[in-house]
């Protein structure tokens, strides 16, 4: 390869898309490092505090697509203070200043402001794609500036963001000349939409493949949208509580039938069952079904979609009492695993589970990549045998050799972690809650799972011994979260001393936030929330008072 001119090598590198592989290439030699970094178009940064924008731009001057993730996953469950961080503004400022030809920005759990969006829309003339997932801090005004100024916009994908809906006319801000849209998702907006503007936009976007509307788009509008976009592959529908009348229903069915390319369906916050049946004809082609907002569809209802690859089943009513008729149980999960052999990702909330069911599921679906099971009641044992669910999850990790993400729940001892450490060779992300007995549990995981990247633990009896056993392990991981565990301030301080390349953050929302001023005795005090991550840029400067970086 040394005899090839750089341009040829660069051309070869172009075929290598995976971040991991490109990272590996850059380690081969100095010349490859240089060629790789100068030609790199897409960069993924799993933790925005692991690096800073200046160094990013310095290394990758040809950057076109940037993915950034901010807050830790447990921020989704109110475990991270609102002001913790993850601001995208400094990144956009730096990229604009360096005149990077940014075309795509994908953000997850970051704080985005209207100002940031305005700056973004004005600074990058080739900007094509904006994907915001679980972000917050902006309003529809920010969206309006993106719609108005990004003349080559192809993708605007807003997933589960907290957006202040000013009910403005942001959809009107797409110029008439904008016909390049391939993906539009505004399902998380709470307010009314300008339906006429939406229909015009969809009508002039022949390449639109993904459309996800919000609750406020009524059935007849949806029907019209589907009629003028039969090429849709991915559809998110709104909220349809009331039964449609005969005529509306027929029109809906006709429109759906035309969408022969449809492979993914979501939305359905409140759906009258009759409405849902209208979608049945295309359901056998679905590879992805997200009924997460549809409270009315019960898990025990047998689902058999042969092509289904991803499924999410959420609890319909978090405050529900024992509602035995409609509770989601292990029966549903087993049925799903039997009916959907191609299933590789599942998120399943349920009331109860058994080892036998999990063993059956493992047999039926050895192809799981993501398996997330949440039994609503913490520490709940197998309801038929009253034993722990160690064996059930053990069967899952043993059978699913490609498992990359796992969330466990129910009554679990250290044994389940022994199984995970032994068998889950590809596991990259593990979520633990109310599980385990001793430090051994956590150690099994840290020692056994060579590919572990994100470990998040809450309310489990793991302490300093596990935390400190192998500090170098954290070099290979993106981050570790521990809350309501047994680690103490002293243990965290020791870790921070031994690993200066880690940011060890203690999050404490109590009155006395100044952890450092406490006397030595408090070293034994348990740390409420610990979040540590590797970084090459040291302690961040934007931490709020409730966060102490040791």
């Amino acid at each position: 390869m040394n005899y090839f001119p750089d341009e040829v090598i660069e051309h070869i590198f172009d075929f290598i898309a995976s971040h991991k592989d490109r990272n590996s290439i850059s380690l081969v030699s100095k010349s490859w490092h240089k060629i790789e970094r100068c030609s790199r178009k897409r960069v993924f940064i799993g933790n925005c505090y692991a690096i800073n924008p200046e160094r990013l731009i310095q290394r990758f001057p040809s950057l076109r697509s940037l993915t950034l993730k901010g807050k830790p996953h447990f921020a989704d469950f109110n475990l991270v203070p609102h002001e913790w961080g993850g601001f995208v503004h400094p990144w956009i400022v730096a990229l604009a200043k360096a005149r990077v030809g940014l075309e795509e920005l994908r953000l997850k759990r970051m704080v985005v402001s209207d100002e940031s969006l305005e700056l973004l829309s004005r600074s990058f003339s080739s900007f094509k794609s904006l994907v915001l997932v679980s972000c917050e801090g902006f309003t529809t005004d920010g969206l309006a500036s993106v719609a108005a100024n990004c003349r080559h916009l192809r993708e605007l994908d807003l997933q589960e963001n907290e957006i202040d809906d000013h009910r403005g006319q942001w959809l009107n801000c797409f110029p008439e000349s904008s016909t390049a849209l391939t993906s539009l998702n505004f399902s998380c907006l709470k307010g009314e939409t300008n339906l006429a503007a939406l229909e015009r936009l969809v009508a002039r976007s022949p390449n639109l493949e993904s459309l996800k509307v919000n609750r406020a788009v009524p059935l007849d509008a949806l029907t019209r949208l589907m009629s003028c976009a039969p090429q849709l592959v991915d559809l998110g529908v709104g909220s349809y509580e009331n039964e449609p009348d005969q005529e509306s229903f027929m029109k809906l069915m006709a429109a759906i039938k035309k969408c022969t390319e449809l492979r993914s369906l979501s939305g359905f916050s409140e759906v009258a069952p009759l409405c849902l049946t209208a979608f049945y004809p295309i359901c056998q082609n679905l590879t992805s079904l997200n009924l997460s907002y549809a409270a009315e569809i019960q898990g025990n209802h047998l689902i058999s979609y042969f092509e289904l690859q991803e499924l999410r089943v959420f609890p319909s009513d978090l405050h529900d009492e024992e509602d035995n008729d409609t509770a989601v149980t292990e029966i549903g999960l087993v049925a799903i695993s039997a009916g959907c052999p191609k299933l590789h990702s599942i998120l399943y909330f349920c009331k109860q589970m058994t080892n036998a069911a999990l063993i059956t599921v493992a047999k039926n679906c050895p192809n799981f990549i993501r398996f997330r099971l949440c039994i609503l009641e913490p520490n709940k044992p197998d309801h038929t045998t009253s034993q722990s669910l160690d064996e059930g999850f053990g069967a899952i990790v043993q059978a699913c050799k490609g498992l990359r993400r796992l969330s466990v729940s129910g009554l679990l001892t250290d044994k389940v972690f022994l199984y995970i450490g032994m068998y889950a060779e590809q596991l990259e992300m593990l979520s633990i809650a109310f599980a385990g007995d001793t430090d051994k549990g956590m150690l099994y995981v840290l020692n056994g799972c060579k590919k572990m990247r994100k470990l998040e633990i809450r309310d489990s009896p793991f302490g300093n011994a596990a935390l400190l056993a192998d500090v170098d392990k954290y070099r290979t991981m993106r981050s570790l979260w521990m809350s309501s565990c047994e680690v103490t301030l002293g243990g965290c301080k020791r870790l921070a001393r031994n690993a200066p390349w880690l940011n060890v953050e203690i999050i404490n929302e109590n009155e006395n936030n100044d952890v450092m001023e406490r006397n030595e005795e408090d070293e034994r005090e348990k740390v409420d929330r610990l979040y540590l991550y590797r970084t090459v840029v040291g302690a961040r400067k934007d931490a709020p008072p409730c966060v102490t970086i040791l």
Binding site: F74, D76, F77, N78, L79, S134, E160, N161, E162, C188, K190, E241, S269, E270, A272, P273, S292, Y293, A295, E296, I297, Q298, N300, H301, F314, P315, S316, D317, L318, E321, E322, D323, N324, D325, T326, F349, C374, L376, E377, P378, N379, K380, S407, S431, A433, F434, R458, D459, S484
Partner: protein, 265 residues
Amino acid sequence: MAKEGLGLEITELRLGLPVDNNGERLVSGSKKTKRVFSEMMISSSLDTDGANSVVSSVDIVTGEVEDDSVPKDKSQAVGWPPVCSYRTKKNNNKESSKAIGYVKVSMCGVPYLRKVDLGTSKGYTHLATVLEKLFDCLGLGVALKEGEKFEYVIIYEDKDRDWMLVGDVPWEMFKESCMRLRIVKRSDATGFGLQRDLSLQLEHLHNRTWLTSTTSRNGKMIKAVYTQRFTDCSVAVAATRHVIVVAASDSYDHLIIRHKWEKLG
């Protein structure tokens, strides 16, 4: 009992919502004054002595439900269950949609829930019609009012999280307090070894002349029969897994009569 005496006693009983001296209904608030399903939940410490069970069943009336679910502190831990706040906000918005009058309705044996808008509903009769349409189940209107023979009964959960029989309280009060509805099969009760004959238990069980028979198994009382003849009174029976509630019709619109059954075996 003679009809005359009956009339007097009925007036005295006023087992429905508490009324003040002027006969005005007081808004039901405290659990004590409200006659609810949950008050009938049988605690596991049920007195097994048949003879004393008349009195003890009064005790049971106010007994607590044995909650076999997880200790409250864990399941109500911050951020548990792990559903992202965006989603729970959506659920809470659904809760606030209740303010507009939508409540969930579930029917046993039906795998999905429906919703009805109490806000636009005009009264019990109208509600029954709506429910009949939603679940394709004729006769719910009858169940609402009377008809001890009808297959289904309708119950609702109120703001205090108690289960009550639909039709007991004035419509406006019902509208405000109803959080959700359930349509349950009366025959569920027979699944628990109960017989169809009506048994009535009145609040003031100190008058034991109303107790006509008890049935025990393994020393545990499983059935007590109180009979009281009422004229001009028809009853509807609602059954959940734990209790049977019997409510009177318009003639005695405050009268809520209850009986409870213990699960056999």
